[in-house]
């Protein structure tokens, strides 16, 4: 019998429809030449009127970048195809930053309108920054939070206005020599967010940053530093998109979180770069006594993502969680994971990683659980589930455990499954088409992640998945 039950044919469009792929005409205040030199680094620093120590830091980092080899793991083939000499390292889109959307240049404002940012801000955000190319073009924070002493600025303004705090914490979690891309970011960083939440202040609704690359061969190197003082809480969300170009762009961020005793930071990322963007990001948190840090990390877009959000559990009773999803379609490799480093006793960590590959896409889970000597009564649990939508796609797991203590409970569980014919038939026999059935299975698979998102994001994510499954043009 020839009844149709071939999800793969019908789903061939999934992941190809990218509704954020439009681009604007370039109209910039400053655009560096291609390639990277100490002169460009100095020029960036000078344009930002930075203190000498930051310029020194940048120039030293640049030398490290030149010297450091490419990582010899992950997707080395794609990494070695990056043409550093062809990238624009700094683009300044406008003269000043707006705190009102009307102050943002019209073209850029329209772009963020199309991305739905001002609307989201009105509805459910406590503060917004919007970065376009290298600079934050818009920023706002709810007045009552500002009165409580909550700081939410772009990183450049943070350095200018809170130099002492920045100097104290900047690059303490991720030093410039951490890896080649951290060195690169340290040399040419621009934009990103600076967040400080004072003692005992709980920011009840999320702060959001939105990153947009517009120019072809652009390199975006934002730098984010979040400090949650004792007993505070903050939820920070970032989203990112870029136009579709035939040649590659590079996004290489550094994000440092500092959760002081009894504080709680949740950091949510919905990464939806276009499929010509390399996304090579270093994210790390320090969680002190009784603090909690959560990375909620969604990777849908990009050509190659290599990202392993880390939590160093520095104080007793600290808790770390990484909850991540990855989706890899044709010509995409999501190499993502988590690192949990238990430095202190009575600390606990949880990693839940879910990935879906289709149309030859590739996902990898790469993770580390490290338990220091004398860190007693540590609990760690890692769970990785991969779902393959066809036979061409691939998923691998690379877990590493370094346990130097005996009084620990460490669990690791990994599964790889395929969307089963029986699941599809069951749903189709109740009236769903093959595409509808598959998107129901996929949404269910991602549900542990989706339910952690604010409702608006969960709805958007489900809609995105459905749209891609249906193969309709967005």
């Amino acid at each position: 019998m020839s009844a149709e039950l071939k999800p793969l044919d019908n789903l061939s469009q999934m992941g190809l429809d990218y509704k954020y792929g439009f681009s604007d005409v370039e109209d910039y205040i400053f655009k560096s030449g291609r390639g990277l030199t100490p002169e460009i680094v100095s020029k960036i620093s000078a344009m930002k009127n930075e203190p000498q120590w930051m310029l020194d830091f940048r120039l030293k980092a640049l030398e490290m970048f030149y010297k450091k080899p490419m990582p010899n793991w992950g997707n080395t083939k794609l990494l070695n195809e990056i043409d550093f000499a062809n990238i624009f390292y700094y683009i300044k889109p406008s003269q000043k930053q707006g705190t009102n959307w009307d102050d943002v240049p019209e073209g850029i404002k329209n772009t963020f309108d199309r991305l739905g940012i001002p609307e989201a801000e009105r509805k459910f955000l406590a503060g917004v920054t919007a970065q376009y190319e290298s600079e934050v073009v818009y920023h706002s924070i709810r007045e009552d939070l500002e009165k409580l002493g909550v700081v939410f600025l772009d990183m450049d303004s943070g350095l200018r206005l809170y130099e002492d705090i920045v100097k104290k914490y900047f690059a303490t979690v991720i030093p410039a020599n951490d890896n080649k891309f951290a060195s690169l970011n340290s040399a040419v960083w621009s934009g990103g967010s600076f967040v400080y939440v004072p003692k005992g202040v709980k920011v009840d609704i999320p702060l959001q940053a939105y990153f947009r690359i517009n120019a072809e061969n652009m390199g975006q190197f934002e730098r984010t530093l979040i400090i949650a003082d004792e007993g505070s809480f903050v939820h920070y969300i970032e989203g990112c998109t870029a136009p579709v170009y035939s040649t590659d762009s590079l996004h290489s961020a550094v994000v440092e979180l500092i959760a002081l005793p009894n504080s709680h930071i949740r950091y949510t990322t919905i990464q939806n770069w276009s499929k010509n963007v390399y996304n090579l990001v270093t994210k790390r948190a320090y969680a002190y006594e009784n603090a909690k840090v959560e990375w909620v990390d969604g990777n849908l877009g990009s050509k190659l993502t290599m990202k392993y959000p880390a939590i160093y559990l520095m104080g007793e009773n600290a808790r770390g969680e990484v909850l991540s999803i990855a989706f890899a379609g044709e010509d995409q490799h999501q190499d993502a994971g988590a690192k949990m480093v238990h430095v202190a006793s009575n600390t606990s960590s949880l990693v839940v990683s879910k990935s879906i590959s289709k149309n030859g896409g590739r996902t990898s889970y790469r993770g580390l659980v490290k338990i220091h000597e004398d860190a007693k009564n540590v609990k760690s649990s890692v769970k990785c589930d991969a779902l393959l939508l066809d036979d061409m796609s691939r998923s691998d797991t690379y877990p590493t455990m370094e346990v130097e203590e005996t009084d620990v409970t460490v669990e690791h569980e990994a599964t790889v499954s395929k969307v089963g014919e029986e699941q599809l038939f069951y749903l189709m026999s109740r009236g769903l088409t093959a595409d509808e059935a598959t998107s129901m299975i996929v949404n269910g698979f991602f549900e542990p992640f989706t339910k952690e998102l604010p409702l608006e994001y969960a709805v958007e994510l489900n809609r995105l998945i459905k749209l891609e499954m249906e193969g309709s043009v967005g």
Binding site: M1, S2, A3, E4, L5, G420, E421, E422, Q423, F425, Y426, L427, M428, S429, R430, G431, L432, T433, A434, E436, A437, M440, I441, N443, G444, F445, F446, E447, P448
Partner: protein, 258 residues
């Protein structure tokens, strides 16, 4: 519609899977509203028949045809068959982790009716049958068949079919693995389904469910064929003499079509 064309009509159906012939010429007609019991031993091909009627791609029709409401559905996809009014209660319903029962019911009902049903309306539609099936409200927020007991799975199948109101409900061993209390509850659900207008094809290998559901026709299924057709009496004889007796005394088919 012409009365003669409504219902299910299977003619000389031969079906292969993995190169092996399982159904060896099945003919069966089920008119609207009728209850038929199809009884056979494990491995006789009963489940193959139910899967084939519903359109499982693993089963290949090599000869014969399935007509539903006058249309040859040999090449119709399972979701289209569902929209035409066929539904199958699975012997082994599969789990769909992360998808709540409520979402599952809502999405499928929308697909079949081609109309969005508000949650409130849906819950009202479910209320009576949930009470009858002894299903609690929390059930709706659990993930579909994920960690369900055998009885819970079968109850969800009957609940779903009751909601979809198919013209023909095929119940594949819905009674297997149920204790006597659950069996009674599920059987009353099946009767209610029939009273609400669905024809029923009840596939089983035990007579016991027929104490609670009364079929007009009983068919004995052996080695990929219907070997005998009769009334409820036939099921009682089967209970007394066993399948072996009937396997060796295959008699002519009783003409049951009025």
């Amino acid at each position: 519609m012409n009365k003669q064309e409504s219902g299910l009509k299977i003619s000389n159906l031969k079906v292969k899977t993995a190169g092996k012939e399982i159904l060896k010429g099945v003919s069966l007609k089920i008119n609207p509203g009728e209850i038929h019991a199809l009884m056979g031993r494990n491995g006789s091909g009963k489940s193959t028949l139910s899967y084939t009627i519903m359109g499982h791609p693993k089963y290949e029709i090599s000869e014969g045809q399935i007509e539903f409401n006058g249309r040859n559905i040999n090449d119709v996809s399972p979701d289209e068959r569902a929209k035409m009014g066929l539904a199958l209660s699975f012997q082994y319903p599969v789990a769909i982790p992360g998808v709540t029962v409520l979402n599952f019911l809502k999405t499928t009902l929308k697909a079949v009716l081609d109309r969005e049903i508000p949650i409130k309306e849906l819950k009202a539609m479910l209320k009576e049958s949930m009470a009858k099936l002894e299903i609690k409200d929390e059930f709706l927020s659990r993930y579909v068949n994920d960690g369900f007991s055998g009885g819970e799975k079968k109850k969800l199948e009957i609940l779903h079919l009751t909601l979809l109101k198919p013209k023909l409900a095929i119940l594949d061993e819905t009674d297997s693995g149920l204790d006597i209390d659950a069996l009674k509850v599920v059987a009353s659900g099946i009767s209610a389904l029939n009273e609400a207008g669905s024809a029923v094809l009840l596939i089983t290998h035990y007579q016991r469910i027929l104490n609670y559901v009364s079929p007009q026709f009983v068919h004995i299924f052996e080695n990929g064929q219907i070997t005998q057709t009769g009334t409820k009496e036939l099921a009682l004889q089967l209970e007394e003499f066993g399948y072996e007796h009937f396997a060796h005394n295959a008699t002519k088919e009783v003409n049951y079509v009025s």
